[in-house]
């Protein structure tokens, strides 16, 4: 009986503030959603993994999708947009190949797209931790 009020208080604490902040922060900066929830280890591993995949993709001369000429380009662009600010900054700096000219460039393009998709998964995980849907 004594634990019931504590549970209610804990539940109220977990609902305070902007619930979608870890989701948005995690999307914009890989791992930031988990950092906001003080999950330093998980956030670091996620940041290293996604940043590593993205940078390796660029180093392999992977392509950053810029527009949607057909359905495959559209899907690629959606995947790239999952990288959040990494994609925006890379586009501003003109990184990434315009066209895939070497075999590794094709691998690199996929690395960049998958990094974006993994980043979305990680951001949703941070949101689930924030709302209590996933136990900590």
């Amino acid at each position: 009986m004594a634990t019931t009020p504590n549970k209610i208080v804990a539940g109220q604490d977990s609902q305070q503030g902007f619930v979608y902040l870890p989701l948005i922060a995690g999307w914009l900066v890989p791992g930031a959603g988990h950092f906001l929830l003080r999950k330093w280890g998980r956030g670091s591993l996620i940041a290293i993994s996604i940043l590593g995949m993205f940078v390796l993709g660029l180093l392999m001369q992977g392509k950053l999708y810029t527009g949607a000429q057909d359905i495959l380009d559209m899907l690629g662009l959606v995947g790239d947009l999952g990288n959040g600010l990494l994609f925006v900054v890379s586009r501003i700096l003109g990184l990434g190949a315009d066209q895939v000219q070497v075999t590794t460039g094709d691998y690199g393009t996929k690395f960049i797209v998958v990094a974006g998709l993994l980043n979305v998964i990680a951001a949703v995980d941070a949101h689930n931790l924030r709302t209590g849907r996933k136990p900590e």
Binding site: L45, I48, S49, L118
Partner: protein, 59 residues
């Protein structure tokens, strides 16, 4: 610019994807590690298996 071999690209992909899968799809650290290793084995194992299948089909 780097030019990894196909297998090295598979290994790098599997390592990074397995880490994120492990952290996001399981709840306790022990289960995260086990699931991450399981995903890594499936990524690499399926790549090797499919490579052999394609090699045999191409002959």
């Amino acid at each position: 610019m780097i030019r990894p071999s196909h297998f090295m690209a598979v290994l790098l992909f599997a390592v990074f994807a397995s880490i994120v899968f492990g952290i996001t799809q399981r709840e306790t650290p022990r289960r995260m590690i086990r699931y991450g290793l399981y995903c890594f084995a499936l990524f690499v194992g399926s790549a090797i298996l499919l490579s052999w299948v394609m090699f045999l089909i191409a002959r």
